[in-house]
Symmetry: C2
DNA sequence: CTGATCAATTGATATAGATCAATGACACTA
DNA sequence: TAGTGTCATTGATCTATATCAATTGATCAG
């Protein structure tokens, strides 16, 4: 863990919102920061638990999901390096409103919410960037709401595949560590429906599926399917 | 329109996030502010249009909804006096990501996003309050996502009724100007399903419905129905 | 008063997708 | 090597809810 000893000032894995901080401010962050690594499947924080720290993902992949009754989940986002997890409860009730779990081997830096909020107050550029990030999260939630509410299975599946390839993995083909259930939880369907939808796309030569590797062959078609719902 | 000439400094209808501003700052707001009134059904801004102003609702009631394909809508919130409409695009792409329509006769103050963002930068308390408000919006969206995705019609209807009574109108019984279609758009169902769900609740003596007035008779039962989905 | 318009209601029908159940495919271990 | 657990796959139902169609009020203009 060479990075363990790296000072935030020299850290190359700085989330972009930190680029505007001066050395003094980064010093404060460095002093309170705790570095952690998580194995695949390990929980970083749980919905409902007290929110003491902001989490910056420096390597790996984290999935964030809302837990409902009866083990029902909704995955609201994935966080990749170098990006913060914005837990909205930090400014409201000091509780996490969703659960974060490491999908792959993941390292993070935890920064105390007190220090973080101090920075928001003292550095207006930082505050501005922070607000932009939360705004983006809001826009994404709106998007997900329409995807789940207004579209049928094929549309939702198409959108999910495009999102995985273009936003989460930024690759095509991409190899994911997500189960069929995870994909189902991204767009409010069952794992069986995911299997059937993938099979349909496969039969129509829109994608190929080989284990956990999915190749999107006809992206315009997927976009059309996603659009018409 | 007596308020037309009132200076922000003396305005009693100040949104709480403005309470921390000094006279100089309020002066800036006052100088750029435009006061508008809208008749019921009139549009305040439309999804996709440029976002030049923040909107503070000083009287009336505004519904905000995402527009999908084929006239499909999702109502993501209602804004009552004295509360801001937080349009997340202001910090991202300068576009509105949902539409706002006056439900009742409504007056608003429009404040230029430039001035607003200046205030966020210059006044850390203001920034802090603003972030708290956006965070709340995010939490509400998460809540709505679970309500729509994880619950069946009775649960969604129960939750919607509780929300109307406890959050939007803060009355029981309450008289709303919303159509059945509006209620349907709050929780992703059809207007026919709303009618049937209301009828079921009425038959079970959980509520009474008289035109646009709804009385929640058995709130614990509604909470149970909402919880079990 | 009389169509005309629009929302609410009700009933009949269709269907998308959930649920249930069985099987297959691996990985792991004892 | 058999045994166990987990996940993916497939097929056979079932059902919640959308859709479609018809009726009833209510409101409004002339």
């Amino acid at each position: 863990m060479k990075q363990e000893n790296t000072h935030c000032i020299h850290c190359r894995n700085k989330s972009d919102i930190f680029s505007g901080l001066n050395d003094l401010e980064l010093g404060k962050v460095n002093d309170c920061r705790v570095r952690m690594t998580y194995a695949p499947g390990e929980m970083i924080f749980k919905q409902g638990s007290p929110c003491h720290d902001f989490v910056c993902v420096t390597s790996g992949l984290v999935k964030c999901f809302i837990e409902g009754e009866d083990d029902k989940k909704i995955i609201i986002g994935f966080v990749r390096p170098i990006e913060y997890i914005f837990s909205p409860g930090a400014y409201i009730d000091k509780r996490h409103h969703f659960t974060a779990i490491a999908c792959e081997e993941t390292s993070v830096c935890l920064v105390s919410t007190d220090v973080f909020q101090e920075l928001v107050k003292s550095n207006s550029e930082f505050a501005n960037d922070f607000i932009a990030k939360i705004s983006l999260q809001t826009i994404n939630l709106c998007h997900q709401l329409t995807n789940i509410t207004h579209k049928q299975i094929p549309g939702r599946m198409a959108e999910t595949l495009l999102r995985l390839s273009q936003v989460v993995y930024k690759q095509n083909p991409f190899t994911s560590c997500l189960s069929r259930q995870d994909m189902a939880d991204m767009c409010g369907m069952t794992k069986e429906s995911v299997v059937r939808a993938l099979k349909t796309f496969k039969d129509e030569n829109i994608i190929t599926v080989d284990g956990n590797t999915i190749h999107l062959l006809n992206i315009p078609m997927l976009e059309t399917i996603s659009k018409i719902g």
